[in-house]
């Protein structure tokens, strides 16, 4: 099953990143595919309700899954343990995507193919092992803060429990990759992308290393935009 998951992730990767897996030579031979990929960037509109939150979570999971699939194909992670982590983390993100899509059903806002990722931004990250693992930490931390921040806004208790079931796995990912980098496994304040002064007060009675602060969807969108990985415009009441 694990090999099936990995294969699935790899296939997803080929679909989403177009010709990335074939390298630059092939890229030159298939310009029409690359063009088709980059021109498709439909706007994603997230409503301020449970469905909007789950779709927003789906976007982050898609980003993470695509990232790990691209990392696996990049060949930059040569250590066997690190490669195994990348494989499993990618498979778990893919499982989150599958789960959220099945929960959302007809209310799913976008197909995987509707997402347009920035090849240049990705290539810059995939340049070496440290850059890759540090980006993984950043993405996982963002996921943790995003799920935590959205939790109190959910109204369906099963959705909240599901978010809790996923967020602790994302936290394990962040800790595991930090450990691979030889760093402490909790998030130091200096790694936080939202400063104390900018945190929503009502969502953050506790702050500091011992807490994973709650970020608003708007703050998450700003962080994701700064990573320069998604071309799709993002709007809607949830992220306003």
């Amino acid at each position: 099953m694990k090999s099936q998951k990995a294969l699935s992730a790899s296939r997803r990767n080929l679909i989403k990143w177009g010709v990335w897996g074939f390298g630059g030579l092939m890229l030159a031979t298939l310009p029409q595919v690359a063009t088709a990929q980059s021109s498709r960037s439909s706007t994603l509109t997230f409503n301020a309700n449970d469905v909007g939150i789950l779709n927003f979570a789906l976007l982050l999971e898609e980003l993470e899954a695509a990232f790990y699939a691209a990392v696996a194909d990049s060949g930059q992670i040569t250590d066997s343990k690190e490669a195994e982590y990348v494989r499993v983390l990618g498979a778990q993100e893919a499982a989150h995507v599958t789960f959220l899509r099945s929960v959302l059903g007809e209310q799913t806002l976008f197909a995987t193919e509707d997402l347009s990722f920035n090849q240049d931004g990705l290539n810059a990250i995939l340049s070496d092992r440290d850059q890759i693992l540090n980006t993984a930490v950043a993405l996982e931390d963002v996921g943790v803060h995003a799920y935590n921040g959205a939790g109190p806004s959910l109204t369906n208790p099963t959705y909240l429990l599901a978010a809790g079931s996923i967020v602790s796995v994302e936290a394990r990912h962040a800790a595991g990759v930090r450990a691979l980098l030889g760093r402490p496994t909790t998030e130091p304040d200096r790694d936080r992308l939202v400063r104390d002064a900018d945190l929503a007060a009502e969502l953050n009675p506790f702050k500091g290393k011992a807490y994973d602060e709650l970020y608003t969807p708007k703050q998450i969108v700003a962080i994701v935009a700064s990573l320069n990985l998604i071309n799709n415009p993002i709007n809607g009441a949830l992220v306003a």
Binding site: T158, L161, I166, V169, T185, T186, A210, Y211, D212
Partner: protein
Amino acid sequence: MKTPLPPIFQATYSLLLPDNFFALLRDRSSHFLNRLPSFAQAMVFILPLLLAVCFVPTAAYAQGAVLTPRQVTEYALTLEKLEADFYRRGVAAARNGGLAGAPQIAKDAIVSYGQDEASHVEQLSAVLPSLGGDPNAVTIPANPNYTAILGRDPFANPADFLLAGQYVEDLGVAAYKGQVQNLLAAGEAGKTVLAAALAIHSVEARHAAGVRFLRQALLGADVNPWISNNASSTEVIYNENRGGSPIPFSSDAFDGYATQDEVLALVEPILKGVQQPSATPQPSISPEPAATPQPSAIPQSAPSAQPIPSNGSGSPTPVRALW
């Protein structure tokens, strides 16, 4: 989304997943899992697909006893006081005790996680009065019986401390997760504690992952930062692979939860306390099987912390010569 579960799915569901399905998988004396791993693993992915289309919000409160925000906070404070005390003793043992020979990376983690738990105690204590509670009324024994976790002193050597730490941290994650629906149900009155609980919950998961990584990296233990698919009762001490939910808890991509009754049943033997500090080396003649947590609230194959024989097939990898 709000369509009631169609009878066909109910029938399919009960056919695929009898009440004791995961208990059967978890029972190490059974060969069921060994014979049908691919079937069991396929279920992990087929079931959510079948069930997720049938989310029934009105039937969703399935997390055990209903607790008020104050009760959740008192319960969490009890666990945090225990965790903080556990690490405080770990730090002492790392200074001049059974953990003195641990690698620095492990000692650093013990100190750091202990600081986090102490902060949780401090902050939850600060919140409790606003909910009508008294943090000083939430107490743990002077000398908790930590021997109950493994059936032996967890501070005697790094391997046992990290194994106990894994059990404690994973349980902590599951315990917080088990209360989020109670806090949501409390409405506005539960919002602050829900935010606090979420902020703590994922940090406990980082701790759990860190302890697991140390066991993997330093001891060669067959464990990862994440909880395995269909995790055994030697990996987690609560019911991680809970069935009957649209959420595929037995998948390694989804962490399970534990109800208050389940957690307290596991913690109760520790809270009974002992006369002597458990960090004091005890004569290791009798491992006190009676002290093994038996979660009476969990039916079927009680996923308890069985004392693990040093050379049993289900035991962690033996400690390397380093330690």
